[in-house]
Symmetry: C2
């Protein structure tokens, strides 16, 4: 299986360059068209147009799955697939409605290259439970594609956050990401990769490589472990 | 109906004093024991002990609903109820499992004073959809007590957040609260009150008073509206 998972937050020129390089290296020159799944945002056409306009297409032709009369058939005919970010609840709801869970699993297992960013990364995991998104719709299930055997928390950061009141930074006391992931582990056993903005997890030939940024690994009963860019995290994920 | 909704974030002496004052003013001298619902955290006994130790009991005797053999009966016999914060998904899951939705609605309608903080505020709304929490369990429904006819986003702040890398503040590019609430309004019509940490919404005699902090009101098709402490927001909530 070949699965490229991005955290999102491509707001600097360097990060956008990394995204482009990573896409070209991952999909390669034999792919020409990528099927884009825009279900995480409200307006699919606007989303697809913005992807092209912002250069988030990596130089490939993106076609929206919503432009086909049948989503399942569009997926079956795709050379490669890219699931974009937005709201994970809305995304998984539509994935279930369109009946894409099993077909995606089978196709990616058979070699279809899968790329996800942010919400698109969440739904590549066994469940979408480690999302940061707001529940804006009640999906039939949190079950997701399960293309990788671990969970990802995208847009990860450690510690408290700060908000700006005028020019002053004020500490905010909501739960930290560490709190949230610890709560997840009170009820679930899968390892969680807290993936910093701009970073990627490249899953290929049974190995998982961390690229373009750091991550923090959370495993039940073990201390959290900070991972540097370039690290092969395959063994660490196993315990 | 008498419903006191807190945002949480009681980390300063001033905020803790406001909490105590507000509880004493809301529950009054005739209440002696408050039934505490600790379902949002993993360890109910530890939660109850911490509430007392941190002085979050407002000078009242708190008894945990989990200490009774039957949760529904405990609720029926309560003088007052306080639903604590933590993870809203875990909270609503247990509320449904224990069959408390209808009994709580009926009892609060009949005069039982309800206080909620953070997750306990989310579940007082028609649904828990405007929570910030991580989905760590799949509840049977997002439907909540519906004691007030609007949604609350607790621990609210406006704009982007910053994280600290050493001594340096680094901007974070995940969705803002405004983004998330706008997404909620793409699929739902209820007004949302973004309630800042330390603030309360006091619902009494059909009126809603904002206390001890600011809030931002979001309504479909209208600009967001910043509300100051002390403001009677009853009319604004109606459109």
């Amino acid at each position: 299986m070949r699965v490229l998972l991005g955290s999102g937050g491509f707001r600097s020129e360097q990060r956008r360059e990394n995204l482009r390089d990573e896409m070209q290296d991952f999909f390669g020159p034999s792919v020409s068209t990528i099927l884009f799944i825009p279900y995480a945002l409200h307006d699919y056409d606007a989303y697809l147009a913005a992807m092209k306009q912002n250069g988030f297409d990596g130089g490939y032709e993106l076609v929206g799955i919503h432009e086909f009369p049948n989503a399942k058939k569009a997926l079956e005919q795709a050379e490669a697939v890219y699931v974009g970010g937005g709201n994970s609840f809305r995304l998984i709801d539509t994935i279930h409605t369109e009946g894409l869970i099993e077909p995606m699993r089978d196709l990616v297992k058979a070699g279809l290259p899968y790329m996800g960013v942010s919400a698109g990364t969440n739904v590549a995991c066994p469940s979408m439970m480690t999302t940061n998104d707001m529940p804006i719709v009640f999906p039939p299930s949190f079950e997701s594609f399960g293309l990788v055997p671990y969970q990802v928390n995208a847009h990860y950061y450690g510690g408290q956050i700060w908000v700006k009141h005028g020019e002053e930074f004020v500490e905010h006391f909501g739960e930290t990401r560490q709190d949230r992931i610890r709560e997840f582990h009170e009820m679930n056993a899968l390892p969680v990769v807290g993936l910093e903005e701009g970073a990627f997890l490249r899953n290929e030939n049974g190995r998982v490589l961390l690229k373009h940024g750091s991550a923090t690994l959370f495993r039940v009963g073990l201390d959290e472990k900070v991972l540097d860019s370039g690290f092969d995290i395959t063994a660490a994920l196993k315990g």
